[in-house]
Amino acid sequence: MPGKLKVKIVAGRHLPVMDRASDLTDAFVEVKFGNTTFKTDVYLKSLNPQWNSEWFKFEVDDEDLQDEPLQITVLDHDTYSANDAIGKVYIDIDPLLYSEAATVISGWFPIYDTIHGIRGEINVVVKVDLFNDLNRFRQSSCGVKFFCTTSIPKCYRAVIIHGFVEELVVNEDPEYQWIDRIRTPRASNEARQRLISLMSGELQRKIGLKVLEMRGNAVVGYLQCFDLEGESGLVVRAIGTACTLDKLSSPAAFLPACNSPSKEMKESPLVHPPSHGCRSTHNSPIHTATGSRLTQNFSVSVPTLIYTGMGSGSAGKEGGPFKALLRQQTQSALEQREFPFFTLTAFPPGFLVHVGGVVSARSVKLLDRIHNPDEPETRDAWWAEIRQEIKSHAKALGCHAVVGYSESTSICEEVCILSASGTAAVLNPRFLQDGTVEGCLEQRLEENLPTRCGFCHIPYDELNMPFPAHLTYCYNCRKQKVPDVLFTTIDLPTDATVIGKGCLIQARLCRLKKKAQAEANATAISNLLPFMEYEVHTQLMNKLKLKGMNALFGLRIQITVGENMLMGLASATGVYLAALPTPGGIQIAGKTPNDGSYEQHISHMQKKINDTIAKNKELYEINPPEISEEIIGSPIPEPRQRSRLLRSQSESSDEVTELDLSHGKKDAFVLEIDDTDAMEDVHSLLTDVPPPSGFYSCNTEIMPGINNWTSEIQMFTSVRVIRLSSLNLTNQALNKNFNDLCENLLKSLYFKLRSMIPCCLCHVNFTVSLPEDELIQVTVTAVAITFDKNQALQTTKTPVEKSLQRASTDNEELLQFPLELCSDSLPSHPFPPAKAMTVEKASPVGDGNFRNRSAPPCANSTVGVVKMTPLSFIPGAKITKYLGIINMFFIRETTSLREEGGVSGFLHAFIAEVFAMVRAHVAALGGNAVVSYIMKQCVFMENPNKNQAQCLINVSGDAVVFVRESDLEVVSSQQPTTNCQSSCTEGEVTT
């Protein structure tokens, strides 16, 4: 009996009127955990009931504590008929199960009903007493911390990064059970919500067990997804990276951190700009292999696709004995693992040695009913297959690990596309196992890789390249080879040298597909996939060149399957890496040279393209130093290239200047216009409009080239659905529609957020789905962050000054340390363990003059501000505590769509409610922000004829407590004032 769960129901407010006659409600509450239920008294005739119940105590196994949600139902008592449900609150008590997180959950929760939405609020207090369990076969994994954040959370230090953990559980979807025909929509929705809540609890527990087995204590980059497979069931799967984390909290741990900034870097590698001899970097050309398979173990293997221009490869020597040693060690560390995958996208300094390129694999499967939910082997096997493929792709790139790894699915009827992608990389073994190799290696690392360009250097053997690439000597160190273009799925390493600013680059693509059934359908899809993938990459490459940039970070390619089409959407952040060669322009070649006007047209286009490139370079401030342009020759014809290859074997890597010759003046990229399609493509390249001035956008955590963020943030979700006119749709028309949809959406965002200028949209996350035949739905979640324009101007100087700039930012950083020191090394703990620090100042309305004359007792508790962001940090603030993971699933349904303002009104209200519920849970945990917030699913279905609609939303994130950096000094002197909010809430508890 290892745990006692205690629940107290305090009060309700703003309840709906349930009795029309009296305009009042006779409310009571049922508290349910597992199979035990308690009830409060009925509080007669009030919309603001004060139950002030006793403590309801549940004595339960910790296994149940992890799996089960606490279920609170508010009902209206009815003497003559059945009691009417007002709504429910599900509380995940997981955050209470590990010691460092929240100690109590207490606050106002919105009462949610799947048909009516939020109907008032209820004040609940939840506590857990865990007994020490010195036991045996643990089925629970209490104590393992979970983080959605895909980097080592601030205020922790990674001792060991163990590696990949995954798990999936399956079940029948209650919506498709026979009983659904006779129960109400509400009952069905609630069954689903409850089941998913249970399943994710179970999943998390099982992952936790695996982590304990690996002797880790945390999961970072935890990503949990649902596959609604319809008839065939419901799959909940999760992946993450097991780690052993150390909390950086004691003053002792901080003192050295202040002396050596590089340690501080570990704590928050993203907030602080690069510096301090850390050398994580990546290097990779684009190697994306697509394997698309059919069901029944029948697999179509697709040749590796290379998207660089004409390769004019050159050669050089392997990186010397050190590199080999490193590789060996990494290999041995990683070989013990089945899948050397890491879901992280940002790493501790020194972790990442080289980056090979993007690896991805897709597989098309036919779904069939899951017969035995306890043995989810089929789904497991599917994923294992894909992961194996990813692993072998990485190997082909000379890499032993995959970082920035993620998995996704797209389901339409019975066809399912499973996708996995990541970035092949060579890692430093130091973090992968206990310090066996640490001593000497670490030192050698420091000596050998002092540059910021190490990650760009190719990890593979250039004589035996997996694909024709276009290599040159690194523009930074001039010693190692780098590819001409680099695609990755990770964030830009903090120490990478970037010239100018980055920008969001998207490739968008639609392909019509015949409607088909089962296997024929699957075959059709797997036949289309490689072409789509190829085109998406071509588009990305073209747009990258058009921007005058040479690397993509945070690449995410989503292929969505619909009844009669496939959609591809790739988003990434383009940057100009100083270590990589200057990208060549784009050259247009016509296929029918006889036609004079055609020629003219081509040259006109060419001019336009050149102008655009020039304009973009100016816009993104890309002014690479003009070096050795003279010695760089024109493109090298094929024969010469070969001879060079042979010669290169005898070359020593010191002969840098000579080798630069091999790097053609990169005009290499030729677009052939051989038909109208190609023409369209070129046109569409030119239609992408840059954001209005003062706006930047990226899909990575932070915008390369901007580092002076101010504190204003605005997270938002925007959803658009368009209906295609079904008349003779062509691929071109589809593409145009889709392109317009995305562009217009972006334009709308820029317009809406214009008051925040200068600002940057970060972590722009597009999701495409095809809910019906002619509908395309695009969902965007991102955060707008303001930055200081004046400082930004400074950084826009020439790149030569850039390094100076860097030095100066380092200084600034150093200045910040004393400040942090003083807060962190305060005598005792600066913040009492409870929730004294919780809310970032009660809002002014709260204190101020409240002339509570007849106000109800709850009236003086103003709602504290809870920030939400998809990023792992909050600009201008320091995260002091992680309170636990937020993982919530909601269903909303309506049978009065028109009355609720149509589909837009319905979804608008629902998303606002979801935000509200997330905020309420975070506030109840004592937090004031959610970081790494993500809306993983937003499934919207409508039936306007029946006046009905349904929507499912799944969100997750990490609840945290943050303190404004500007408040840090103040906190120590003014501690009592920070308690304002908590005393308010406590006031509520006692009244």
Binding site: A855, T862, G901, H908
Partner: protein, 350 residues
Amino acid sequence: MTSELDIFVGNTTLIDEDVYRLWLDGYSVTDAVALRVRSGILEQTGATAAVLQSDTMDHYRTFHMLERLLHAPPKLLHQLIFQIPPSRQALLIERYYAFDEAFVREVLGKKLSKGTKKDLDDISTKTGITLKSCRRQMESCSVAQAGVQWRDLSSLQPPPPGFRDYAAIVFFANNRFETGKKKLQYLSFGDFAFCAELMIQNWTLGAVDSQMDDMDMDLDKEFLQDLKELKVLVADKDLLDLHKSLVCTALRGKLGVFSEMEANFKNLSRGLVNVAAKLTHNKDVRDLFVDLVEKFVEPCRSDHWPLSDVRFFLNQYSASVHSLDGFRHQALWDRYMGTLRGCLLRLYHD
């Protein structure tokens, strides 16, 4: 390609002040978009009309959802659905409860709950304010009148500037003062609001008993009853003559319209005192302003009294009563005349 669904939801609810104003003014989305286009916003931002349309729709939807909360301002403070910074909340409430003077002038003194559709239609046509806006303003007035919300509204920081005006509106509605008569048309809402404030300060229960809620909107019944006592000032011939001579002595040579004043004194005094005496009856209370204009403002105006002379006269007229030995209700007189003097001076214009 048609847009089926198009929404934007921010963690902090975005409020565009300009769109809010258009929404409050009752413009349809189409009209609002047209007006925004005319404001030159497209050129400033480089946006397209479609973007503007989508943005406007989105804001309208948000406002529509907020409206339920705006009907009860305290709810807006405690709700969890929309995260709005306090300053914005205050702005939302302030703007929502702001009104057009032209509209309020029309409904002043009428029952607020009974804004029938036809009445609103008429007002809308007469004032050029959209029907929607009229309806909102009517509702705000009745929300205000319901009174409960008042206290919380007043606890908002900072108190909405329109607050005092609402006091006037509710005060007029409660007492059903007649303001619609033709001869009162020259008076603006500001004139009435001024009078209302004076009366609230001096003639209500709250004025004498500070324990009472200062928002109490009823006139002090006892005081009105007592006003009958003032009748002696005109009923008693001697007293009236004495009063007249006192005033005339004091004002001789100081008044440009002295002769007119002297001739009219008895009429004017009778008028003012009779108004006081009539206030006992609810029905006559309603006609207070009609009476004041008829019995005092109009006679003076027809004799072309300048405002300064009216001030001299009224000051002297009320002060002289203190020298009337036979008159015992000095305090009562001051409470009555003090307020009335202020009102009359405000009402005395063209």
